[in-house]
Symmetry: C2
Subunit: 115 residues, 2 copies
Amino acid sequence: MAKPKIEEFSANEIYFADIVKALSHPARVRILKILTEMNLCMCGEIVNQLPLAQATVSQHLKELKRVGLIQGDIDGPKVCYCVNPDNLFKAKKELENIFNQLTKKGALSCKTKKK
Amino acid sequence: MAKPKIEEFSANEIYFADIVKALSHPARVRILKILTEMNLCMCGEIVNQLPLAQATVSQHLKELKRVGLIQGDIDGPKVCYCVNPDNLFKAKKELENIFNQLTKKGALSCKTKKK
DNA sequence: ATCGTTCATCGTAAATATACGATAGATAAG
DNA sequence: CTTATCTATCGTATATTTACGATGAACGAT
């Protein structure tokens, strides 16, 4: 089974994992960067800036849209994409929370460095 | 091909994606939390706190070790795991950089909300 | 109405990821 | 040495991910 046993984890844990997974591919991060820098961007422009086929880029856009990090508006035959600042901010805060939990405590290293 | 076309992306982009992917599973995040809270932790304790088989947990631990977020020291027949604070901090900074890049600019929403 | 452009979706192939039982290796205890 | 414990690894099954060509749907322009 490639599917995590998500039913065993909380809704928040699953939400976090979902957002993070969307950020776990270089192409998707680059898409987000492009959209941030260009402020409104046609799908075709993104395809031109990535070493991937149009169908593949479209799939990545769909995934980013699914988790709410971007949105796409139809503009004639083209589609205008942009980031969703609210959700991006929310994801940022969520990640900060996790990392603060993981780094705040003393969190000593192992003493016995045998391996 | 399930493999991203990593050769097309920079080393830093790939490093980031790799770290983030390690964080994209609820079980692995929970493992990190357990290790942070308990400060040194036997593998068996982790298995007890997760709804997963020992073999599966061991696999997740291996992945976290691979990306450098944790380390495991042999202690007799047991293995003592702990987070790697340096790499965790590095990952945190890396994520902050990305998000700062993605959220700093005006990053307007689309105007035409047709879809 | 037809054509060209733009993009999403379908179908498909191959690689990865997730999960678990079974097994093997290492060590402590007896 | 034998046994019990702990953990990694192997083998395997299944689902998901990544990628691309081909096709289809929507729209503007002619």
